[in-house]
């Protein structure tokens, strides 16, 4: 950005102070959780610079609930959804971007409807469907409603449309089938968009709560978010230190990923949102 209008002098001081104040407010819950998780419980509500550090809360939280299982469930869920989404959305996006066929406009409108009517709203009917399919309380039941993603199809369609048609024709002249063209030409060119989409999808499903809460009721299928909720609400007499430790554990992978890939993360959110 040009610096013509960059604040100077007093304005600059005020602006910086304001930005920092808001930043402190915004990060406060995380700072608090970190403080409490690493100190003995008697310091959860009492702040002292000289409080001893401890990892005990993490150990107690880890033992108090089957977090290893929850982590595994979430991992399976998130990767399963992502892989299925990428395959299905790529195929659909390619059809929309490069084929002219009767009903294309209608089909596209039908897909876009899902941008508004997310599965989260249709919990009662989707619960019935899962019951009929006999897969209640399983990981596939959590993921299935999200596998066909209008957002993903839309995003990839826009990307594929920017690929020059000549590349396509050249590959066809070489005797490549449509799927080979898709795999060799379009998928590699769409890589940044795949990364962006993957980040959005992973963080959404890692954090998703209501639908998993409804559709699961056993340790074998519960993801982290639901496990954390069950854990923190059944606890007799709230132990904030353990809850904070569990909270940090639950969000740690995403948080670490975010800290490591901050730049790419922010840029990919931009890319994903703006296209």
């Amino acid at each position: 950005m040009s610096d013509v209008y960059a604040p100077r002098g007093t304005a600059r001081v005020i602006e910086t102070a304001g930005a920092w104040l808001l930043a402190v407010l915004w990060i406060a819950p995380l700072v608090y959780a970190t403080w409490t998780a690493f100190h003995p419980s008697e310091f959860a509500t009492r702040f002292s610079l000289f409080a001893p550090l401890t990892l005990d809360n993490f150990a107690r939280a880890w033992e108090a609930a089957p977090f290893a299982r929850y982590f595994l469930n979430t991992f399976v869920l998130v990767t399963g959804i992502l892989v299925a989404q990428i395959v299905l959305c790529t195929l659909a996006a390619y059809a929309f971007a490069r084929y002219e066929f009767p009903g294309a406009t209608l089909a596209f409108a039908v897909v876009l409807a899902q941008l508004m009517i997310m599965p989260d709203v249709l919990i009662v009917e989707n619960y019935k469907t899962m019951g009929r399919l006999g897969i209640l309380d399983t990981i596939p039941a959590i993921g299935l409603p999200y596998v066909a993603s209008a957002f993903g199809i839309f995003l990839l369609r826009q990307t594929f449309k920017t690929v020059p048609k000549e590349l396509d024709d050249a590959a066809k002249v070489e005797g490549a089938s449509p799927l080979q063209v898709l795999w060799r030409v379009y998928v590699p060119l769409g890589r940044p968009v795949y990364v962006a989409y993957a980040l959005v999808s992973v963080s959404y499903h890692w954090n998703n709560f209501l639908w998993p809460l409804i559709v699961t009721n056993s340790v074998e299928s519960r993801p982290l978010t639901v496990g954390l909720q069950v854990f923190s609400s059944t606890d007799q007499g709230i132990d904030w230190s353990i809850i904070c430790a569990a909270t940090l554990m639950t969000s740690a992978p995403l948080l670490l990923g975010f800290l490591l890939f901050q730049r790419q993360f922010v840029q990919s959110f931009m890319r994903a949102g703006i296209r």
Partner: protein
């Protein structure tokens, strides 16, 4: 159109097939089934479901809890949408300038977006706890007696609204930041040559250029206001005395605590109609300006 049959049509439909089938199964059919179900009574062990016409909707109009949920949701929307958008814009402008520690500040704003709402809601629960919660302690320093934020009907809705604003503002900031960075610096130089003040530059140049982004963010914020309920589950469960009951939470309650699926379907129809209305506005007015420029 009189186009000859083409083999590529089959290819296209084969590629679309899996996605369309799943969308139909988990989005379109459930939406239609919800509308159908809303005209039927809830099946009970001794009383199978039967057609009841508009009875569910009549029950709804007479249900004070439903109206409270509608009003709560409107207040929640009115509280979250303008504040989170305004904050997002302010944050974006701040972190777009070269202030000290810009990367850190930007990260701080964005952190709530990455954290699971269900996890941070637990922390907010502590902040709001009376007597020894963080807010109570901070107020205590100034000798002010802290109210029971989540336990009092007067403050509970505002308290959950604040958490939603905190969660969303940083997410919206990203879109503004991206849009700000596409504004050509020559515009700022030209405006400066004309002697425009910074405020004029913002009002006449930056803000109008950000309009498509604002509309996009607005639509997302409106949808979000009718869909986010994770923190309600942790913080208040709709209470006290339904003061924080939002529509989707009421649907969840009616459907999965009272198992009144017929009534839940009628409630869902209201929510679907609301989201549909937003959809019409988006596709009718905003689509060309945002997606296909």
């Amino acid at each position: 159109m009189t186009r000859r049959f083409d083999r590529s049509w089959i290819h296209a439909w084969l590629m679309l097939g899996p996605s369309l089938a799943l969308l139909a199964l988990f989005t379109h059919w459930p939406a239609v089934a919800t509308i159908i179900d809303s005209f039927y009574s809830t099946p009970r062990p001794r009383r199978p479901s039967r057609m009841v016409g508009f009875e569910n909707f009549e029950q709804m109009t007479a249900d004070p809890v439903f109206w409270q949920a509608v009003w709560n949701n409107l207040w929640f929307a009115l509280g979250t949408i303008p504040v989170s958008i305004a904050l997002a814009l302010l944050m974006a402008i701040w972190v777009n300038d070269r202030i000290a520690g810009r990367t850190l500040v930007r990260m701080a704003y964005f952190t709530p977006t990455v954290l699971p709402m269900i996890a941070v809601a637990n922390i907010w629960l502590f902040f709001y706890t009376p007597q020894y919660g963080l807010l109570a302690q901070v107020l205590g320093v100034f000798g002010v007696q802290s109210p029971n934020w989540l336990g009092s009907k007067d403050t509970a809705l505002a308290a959950v609204t604040l958490v939603a604003v905190w969660k969303e503002a940083g997410f919206f900031m990203i879109f503004y930041l991206a849009a700000l960075q596409t504004i050509s610096p020559t515009l700022a130089e030209a405006a400066a040559l004309e002697g425009a003040s910074r405020w004029t530059y913002f009002r006449r140049v930056q803000f109008p250029l950000l309009m498509p982004t604002t509309l996009f963010v607005l639509v997302n914020a409106v949808i979000g206001a009718f869909r986010t309920i994770d923190h309600i589950v942790v913080l208040t469960k709709g209470g006290p005395d339904n003061a924080t009951l939002l529509l989707l939470y009421y649907i969840y309650q009616v459907g999965f605590s009272f198992w009144d699926t017929g009534y839940a379907a009628a409630l869902t129809v209201v929510l679907l109609a609301t989201l549909g209305l937003i959809a019409i506005i988006q596709y009718g007015v905003l689509e060309r300006r945002i997606h296909y420029r």
